[in-house]
């Protein structure tokens, strides 16, 4: 009772080929990568330039049925070179979920699923140049689920999503200062003398006598 590796390989290859065919020459490259955990399924990794991302997203949604935007990760690479100061990774899924007419359900038999039914994972990587205003076009209107993910990514990492409506802080306090995005790398989790944040009445937490000495 699972999607076999063959089914997975067929579906992944189809998707990757379709993307490469459609977007050849635009800098969008789809690749097949194999997970090295659990059952070693493969997934499609797409590297896309930001200007083509919206077109790619719409095409993926309507042509190959990617209906689920599960996760958006922004990463800050202050030392990543001029072309890769920021990276935005989208994790998308194709799920075989359809509306039901009353009093029915759809019970797929995993081994017998074919074609566009087979669930596939997608990872879309968008590299952004190293500057102070990283920005990506929004896909809020493509997947509703991207809405709060984009809010979170802007809130925590500071990636601007061009065209995102109703952007506000979701996890940080609403009155956080402008430009404060805690997951950027200039904010350190352990500052010098971080221990003074805590009540260290005895003081021995501050500077252990043998600090830095390895036995």
């Amino acid at each position: 009772m699972k999607i076999t590796l063959e089914q997975n390989a067929i579906a992944v290859t189809e998707c990757a080929d379709a993307i490469n065919d459609r977007f050849s020459g635009s800098g969008i490259i789809a690749d097949i990568i194999q997970h090295s955990n659990a059952k070693k399924y493969s997934f499609v990794r797409v590297i896309a330039p930001p200007q083509h991302w919206q077109a790619l997203a719409k095409w993926m949604k309507f042509e190959i049925g990617v209906n689920y935007c599960s996760m958006i990760t922004g990463t800050h690479y202050p030392e990543g070179g001029a072309d890769r100061g920021w990276e935005v990774v989208y994790h998308l899924l194709r799920q075989p979920i359809v509306n039901q007419i009353p009093d029915t359900n759809t019970v797929f038999v995993a081994e017998k699923m074919v074609g566009a039914q087979i669930p596939v994972e997608f990872e879309v990587i968008i590299n952004l140049p190293n500057n102070d205003t990283p920005s990506v076009p929004t896909v809020q209107h493509v997947w509703v689920g991207a809405d709060w993910n984009e809010k979170e990514t802007w809130d925590l990492v500071g990636i601007n999503f061009e065209g995102h409506e109703n952007m506000f802080r979701v996890l940080n306090p609403h009155d956080s200062p402008d430009g404060f995005h805690p997951l950027q790398k200039q904010h350190k989790i352990r500052y010098h003398d971080f221990n003074e944040m805590y009540d260290d009445a005895q003081g021995f937490g501050r500077k252990p006598a043998d600090e830095g000495r390895v036995k």
Binding site: D103, N195, D199, A201, F204, A209, K215
Partner: protein, 327 residues
């Protein structure tokens, strides 16, 4: 398949089923009905035989009460409910906690053996390797050490010559006689300074024949020196403290310890205080139960002595073989 795939509201169920099941539940909390329902349910509610719940740990915990309540005579339901201990209906069940404790009343209802409770350290067998300090995600362990000469573990020490000896990668110390001579006259009161150290420490790089190659800690210089001039030194604990206010009881420290010196005990209280300072536990508050403590110390020391003995035996055999080869 669900019992009622599309249950529909109806008149009967305003009155019947919810009332029926609460009545059953209420009745079977009385042991006499509990046994009856137990039979009907097949799995049993009160006093059905489930020996798998009488594990060794529970028996051991209950042994001190065995004259009062022998749990090997008890029968349990799978959720560890028993009703033989208090067969009378109306005895109070509320445990007046600080004065009464659940583990005394109903030990089988209590803490299984693997519980990650208060941290306990057996300092006698701790080698100050600091693996636990490294493993702690929250920096709640603090340990300071300093190099000291291993007086007790040396050839004249308590372990009958089976203590430490010079090892490559270990530490050694050399006595500085001129300092040692002044120590008798050293006066803390007038000197306004620390006691001068009569030892000079070094890391042992190589041992060959009667000499040792060492790197002095104070100068960083390497030197060959006769082994007879060196004493065995070791990193020893000056203070070990735990900030239980930051501890999240993940147990990574316990796993990191290679010497079974570091325990998560079964104790769940005695970890509160009115200030954060109260939560800094020093060595005296991380003691484990005396019986466990003695046992662990004995076992660990015996293990080390055996290891040392084996090592020496192997070394002797090797030397003998080498000598024979040479001959």
């Amino acid at each position: 398949m669900p019992m009622h795939p599309h249950a529909k509201p109806n008149f009967r169920n305003l009155f019947w089923y919810p009332f029926k099941i609460t009545l059953i539940t209420a009745l079977r909390t009385f042991p006499i009905f509990g046994k009856l329902f137990g039979k009907r349910l097949g799995m049993g509610y009160h006093n059905t035989s489930h020996p798998e719940f009488l594990d060794d740990g529970s028996k051991a915990r209950a042994s001190k009460n065995s004259s009062f309540n022998d749990i090997s005579q008890q029968e349990f339901a799978p959720d560890r409910v028993t009703s033989d201990l208090f067969p009378t209906l109306w005895k109070p069940q509320t445990v007046q906690y600080p004065y009464e404790r659940l583990e005394d009343m109903e030990p089988w209802l209590f803490v299984p053996g693997n519980y990650n409770g208060r941290i306990g350290v057996i300092w006698e067998t701790c080698t100050a390797c600091k693996l636990c300090v490294t493993a702690c995600p929250n920096d709640c362990l603090h340990m300071t050490t300093e190099l000291r000469v291993d007086v007790l573990d040396g050839a004249d020490g308590e372990h009958g010559g089976l203590g430490a000896e010079l090892e490559i990668g270990g530490y050694a110390a050399q006595l500085i006689p001129e300092v040692a001579d002044t120590l008798d006259d050293f006066n803390h009161v007038t000197a306004h300074a620390d006691t001068p150290d009569q030892w000079r420490f070094a890391e042992v790089l190589d041992l060959s024949g009667g000499t040792a190659t060492v790197r002095w800690n104070d100068s960083g210089m390497e030197q060959d020196i006769a082994q007879s001039e060196l004493f065995v030194a070791d990193d020893q604990i000056v203070s070990g403290r735990i900030d239980l206010g930051r501890c999240m009881f993940c147990g990574l420290c316990m796993e990191a310890c290679g010497f079974t010196s570091f325990f998560m005990t079964n104790e769940y209280d005695g970890m509160s205080g009115f200030t954060r300072q109260d939560l800094w536990f020093d060595a005296s508050r991380t003691r484990v139960l005396p019986s466990v403590h003695q046992e662990a110390v004995d076992a660990e020391l015996a293990k080390r002595a055996n290891k040392e003995r084996d090592k020496r035996a192997r070394k002797a055999a090797k030397a003998k073989a080498a000598a024979e080869d040479g001959a």
